[in-house]
Every structure is written in structure tokens, then in C-alpha cells.
């Protein structure tokens, strides 16, 4: 079962919840095996809190066309079929703009003389880490690569192959926002936990995230972080929209300090641990009802 920890607004505590929840679940052996995956590939942060041993590092590639000048007859078909302006023809020269290419293969496969074979281009790196009580998987986009989706898609494929047992629990630290990267994660997950904070920014972005999840037909519930700051409008919003609030993680300067030291929070802050256990209970129930 795959659980995506997401949020509309950045910085609401996705990573805080993901790492603390994963460690808590694994430590208490709540599921048979646990995987934490950081798929916020543009800015992956979970790994900063994990002291583990890297078991495997895999370079990740996407495929883009490469022009073979000798074979090319300059028929212009490739430029015409490319909807992303990634293949351009200047006189007798074909120019490829890799950052615009979506790897659809149309130019390559429709070329009548095979003058545009698809070649691998590195887009990032995935690593598998033994975090002692659980497995950690991280994917990291190379700087300058614009498209997060292909790397996310390939990593999810890997996770699905890696965790073939239905007893596995996979927690995914997801990208922020409501556009393609988070959609790629959410549509491949079984359930979404939306993390928000009780401020006007948090509520506005939660609403966008809720609309997005409803648009793609995914089930979700909410965890409120930094409860105690701001106001209580988010409670009313969730009630009005019949959204379950799983837990309310407290707002404390001490938590921010522990986070800034790169440490886990629940061992030092009982109020945080009590709320975290509610998230764990929720997942146990979710798993049971899905079986």
C-alpha cells in the first residue's frame, strides 16, 4: 500500500511527518516491512534526517532523439510531428532541444530513414538506503533538468517491483503544489495525507490540493501541523467539506529547533508522539479495511 504525504503549500511539514512517521512505524513494527520514498525529486530532504547505509545507486535516464546527419533526408517530418518544439529544422540541419523533449518517440519512430535514434540522457540519480529499521529510497533530479515527472515515474516503477508483498507499507514524501509532479505521485498512490498549517496560506493551498485530489479521484485525509498558531478556520473547512482530520501536530519552537538539528522529533516531544501515533493507528485501520 502506498501512502503519499503531500501538501499544496510548501514547508508545511511533509518531510517532518514522513521521516518521523516512517521511523515510528518501523520502530514499533507496525507493518511487516516499511519503505520511505522521497519523490520530491527537485528538492529531496528526507535523506538529511536518515543515517543509513547506501546499498545501491542507480543513474536514471530519459530517452531523447539524436540526429544522424548521414541518414537524414531533410524531409521535415520530425519537426512537424513534435508538439513540444523540441525538434527544429534549420535548412539542412536538425536541432534537438533536450530540455523540451517529452520522450514520446514520435519523431524517432516516424522518421522514414531511422535518422533519429533515441539515446539515453541522464536526468538524475536514485539511491536505495538501508535505514536499519526500514528501507529508504530517494530520487534526485540533476540541476538544470526541468522535468521531474519522468524521474518520479521511473522511481515508482522501481518501488512497485521492489515491494511486491501486499504487506508492505510505502510512505512517499511528495513534491509540493498541485501540478504534474505531485499528480504523478498521487495517481500512483492508494491514499493521500495532506499536510497543512492553520494559517490563511495553509488553508488556501489545502483547498487547492483538495480540489486537485477530487479532480483525479483520490481519497485523502488531513494532518494539521503547527497546531496552535494562526486560527481555527481549517477545522471548519474540513468539517464543511467532510474531510477527516487525522492528527494535529503541535506548534512549538522546540520542534523547529530539533528539526534544525536534523533530528527526529517524537522521542523528545511527547505531545508530538501522541499525535503521530494517531496517524499510525489511522494507517493500520486503512490497511485493514483495504484487505
Amino acid at each position: 500500500m502506498k501512502i503519499a504525504v503531500a501538501s499544496g503549500k510548501g514547508g508545511t511539514g511533509k518531510t517532518t511527518l514522513s521521516i518521523n512517521l516512517s521511523s515510528y512505524l518501523a520502530e514499533n513494527k507496525i507493518f511487516k516491512s516499511l519503505i520511505l520514498a522521497d519523490l520530491d525529486v527537485e528538492e529531496p530532504n528526507s535523506g538529511l534526517f536518515i543515517n543509513g547505509k547506501t546499498v545501491e545507486t542507480v543513474e536514471k535516464y530519459k530517452f531523447i532523439p539524436e540526429w544522424n546527419k548521414e541518414k537524414c533526408t531533410n524531409c521535415g517530418l520530425c519537426e512537424r510531428v513534435c508538439n513540444f518544439n523540441s525538434v527544429l529544422q534549420f535548412g539542412k540541419t536538425i536541432m534537438i532541444l533536450p530540455e523540451l523533449c517529452h520522450s514520446c518517440y514520435a519523431c524517432s519512430e516516424l522518421c522514414p530513414v531511422d535518422a533519429l535514434p533515441m539515446k539515453p540522457q541522464r536526468m538524475g540519480e536514485m539511491k536505495l538506503v538501508d535505514a536499519s529499521t526500514y528501507t529508504f529510497i530517494e530520487s534526485r533530479l540533476d540541476i538544470g533538468q526541468e522535468q521531474a515527472v519522468p524521474l518520479i515515474a521511473q522511481t515508482i516503477e522501481y518501488i512497485d517491483e521492489y515491494s511486491q508483498s501486499s504487506d508492505d507499507m510505502v510512505i512517499i514524501d511528495s513534491p509540493p503544489g498541485t501540478s504534474c509532479p505531485v499528480i504523478e505521485v498521487a495517481k500512483n498512490s492508494d491514499f493521500i495525507i495532506l499536510v497543512t498549517e492553520p494559517t490563511p496560506f495553509g488553508l488556501h493551498d489545502l483547498n487547492l490540493a483538495v480540489e486537485t485530489m477530487r479532480e483525479i479521484g483520490k481519497e485523502f485525509a488531513v494532518v494539521i501541523n503547527r497546531w496552535g498558531i494562526g486560527n481555527e478556520d481549517v477545522i471548519k473547512y474540513c468539517e464543511d467539506n467532510k474531510i477527516k482530520i487525522i492528527a494535529k501536530l503541535p506548534n512549538m519552537r522546540k520542534i523547529a529547533e530539533i528539526y534544525s538539528e536534523g533530528r527526529l522529533i517524537y522521542n523528545d516531544v511527547p505531545g508530538f508522539k501522541a499525535e503521530l501515533s494517531k496517524v499510525a493507528d489511522f494507517l493500520v485501520e486503512l490497511k485493514r479495511s483495504s484487505n
Binding site: N83, I143, G144, P176, P200, I216, A256, E257
Partner: protein, 294 residues
């Protein structure tokens, strides 16, 4: 014309709160743009009037005309994005998965697959509470092409500035390092980086600054919540020095920032609190650095 973009890599560092404050301090002398199109929060503080609305379309998606479809399966064979689904022999396009490449339309022998312009969201030109003009957008939930929407916001903000004879555009950028950020940075003259002294704050700042360097844009740094972890604040200062980034301001950890947002005002307007003085000072330093000769 100076185009100033505020970014942070990591979310939740105070980027929008500060951009909105600078917008208030800049008054009518600038055009404001909100390029954080996935999580457009600046309007909550700047109170735009949504004066002009434009629906923005970009990219395409495929649709199968069932009357023309002979279920030959060619579209299914060529699609790399699992966007063609088959149910009881009926072929359909899953719009969510469709990248709009048009390969299916190209190979369909019956010409049964038109490519349709995709709605990305809406762009607004508003008057805000300071009397200035703001260009902002709303991404359609789950839409692709947020980078294109960002480019559109910037283009409209530039046009508005030219029309009004203004010399500055202030942009709230998007998080991350992907296409919306690349769009945000394209054509910018100066970047204000906002970070915090946490492992993720530093990590994300360094990654996004690598991107800024590729664009050869000068940058200033604001360290928010600097007293949360003095060792990491020192590390950030050293990093800034080594990269020739001017440290514009060290802001304290102060929940008044959240109180201001909750009251619907910017930190700059929260004059009872020390934070208004801090952000005013940061804006003065930023302006000096922006207009400094290279």
C-alpha cells in the same frame, strides 16, 4: 527595467510573506507578479480586485471520436504515457496521463483523434491595495504546463510595467528547481533568496542557487528564523560569502510573521511588531544591491 524574483528552493521559509511585504513597501513604483502558480498566496495579503481575467490555454490533449474509431489499436501501441485505455474494446484517452505529444493522432488511420488545446488556468490583472498592478494566475487543479503559465504571468507583468512606465517588477517565484522555477528565473535581473538555518533550508538553497548561477543572475540572501540554529546560520553566511551573495537580512524566529498573515496584512504593515522594521531594512538593502553597479 529591473525584474526581481524571490525564490527559496524549500517551501515555508517566508518567501511569499516577504515578497508581499516588499510589494507594500515598493508601493506604486512597481508591478507585482505571482509566479507561484500552484500555491498562489500573495493575493491573501495584497487584496487584488481581479479586474481583468484571461483564460490561458497551452499544450494539447488527445480525444478519440468514437464514431470514427475502428479499434485498430495503433494509438495504444505508440503511446508511451499509458494514456490510451481499452475497456470492452472501446479505446479512450485518459486526459490525466496524456502529454499532448500527438503521436496517436499522427498514426490514427481514421483521423479519429483530434488534438485539443488544454486549459491551463486563468491569468488576472488586478489593482491591489497599494494602488499598484498585480499579475497573478490560478492553475487549473491537476493541469500540466505550469511553466507556461509562469511565463505568461511574467510576460503580462512586463507589458504592464512598460505601459505604465515603471522601472521595477517584483515576482514571487515558485519552489523547487524544475520548469516553473526555470520560467521564473528566465529574464530576471536580480534574485532574492530566502532560506532558514535548517538542513533542508541549506540543502535546497544550494541546489536552487546552482540553477541561478546557470542563468548568471546576481543574488541577495535573506536568512529567516536565523536564531533557530546559530551554527547553521554561520554556515549559511560563509556559503553566501564564498558565492559572492550579499546577505541582505537576518530575520528572527518570530511568530508575529504568522500573526500578520492571519490578520491578512504583510509583515511590513504590522507596525506594532519588530518584524516591520526588519523587513523595511531588508527591502532598503535589497534595493541598494539591485541598483549597485556590477
Amino acid at each position: 527595467m529591473k525584474e526581481i524574483v524571490v525564490i527559496s528552493g524549500k517551501g515555508g521559509t517566508g518567501k511569499t510573506s516577504l515578497t508581499a511585504s516588499f510589494a507594500v513597501l515598493g508601493g506604486k513604483n512597481l508591478v507585482v507578479g505571482d509566479c507561484d502558480v500552484d500555491a498562489d498566496d500573495m493575493h491573501l495579503l495584497l487584496k487584488p480586485d481581479y479586474n481583468v481575467k484571461e483564460n490561458f490555454k497551452s499544450g494539447l490533449y488527445a480525444e478519440i471520436i468514437q464514431d470514427k474509431c475502428t479499434a485498430c489499436g495503433k494509438c495504444f501501441e505508440v503511446c508511451r504515457f499509458n494514456a490510451v485505455t481499452i475497456e470492452n474494446g472501446v479505446y479512450r484517452i485518459d486526459e490525466l496521463n496524456c502529454e499532448g505529444c500527438g503521436y496517436c493522432a499522427e498514426v490514427c488511420p481514421e483521423k479519429a483523434i483530434p488534438m485539443i488545446p488544454a486549459a491551463v488556468g486563468s491569468v488576472f490583472k488586478s489593482n491591489i491595495k497599494t494602488g499598484a498592478t498585480m499579475i497573478h494566475a490560478r492553475l487549473k487543479p491537476g493541469a500540466d504546463n505550469s511553466g507556461k503559465l509562469v511565463a505568461k504571468v511574467k510576460q503580462d507583468a512586463n507589458a504592464a510595467a512598460v505601459e505604465m512606465g515603471l522601472e521595477m517588477i517584483l515576482i514571487d517565484g515558485s519552489p523547487g528547481i524544475g520548469c516553473p522555477v526555470v520560467s521564473s528565473l528566465t529574464g530576471a535581473d536580480y534574485v532574492i533568496l530566502v532560506t532558514e538555518p535548517t538542513p533542508s533550508g541549506i540543502h535546497d538553497l544550494k541546489r536552487v542557487y546552482e540553477l541561478v548561477k546557470k542563468f548568471k543572475i546576481r543574488a541577495g540572501l535573506i536568512i529567516n528564523k536565523n536564531d533557530l540554529n546559530s551554527a547553521l546560520t554561520e554556515e549559511l553566511k560563509k556559503y553566501a560569502e564564498s558565492e559572492n551573495i550579499n546577505v541582505l537580512s537576518l530575520l528572527p524566529y518570530n511568530e508575529d510573521f504568522t500573526k500578520a498573515i492571519t490578520a491578512g496584512i504583510t509583515a511590513a504593515e504590522f507596525t506594532e511588531s519588530e518584524i516591520s522594521g526588519f523587513v523595511k531594512d531588508a527591502w532598503v538593502k535589497a534595493k541598494i544591491d539591485i541598483y549597485k553597479e556590477k
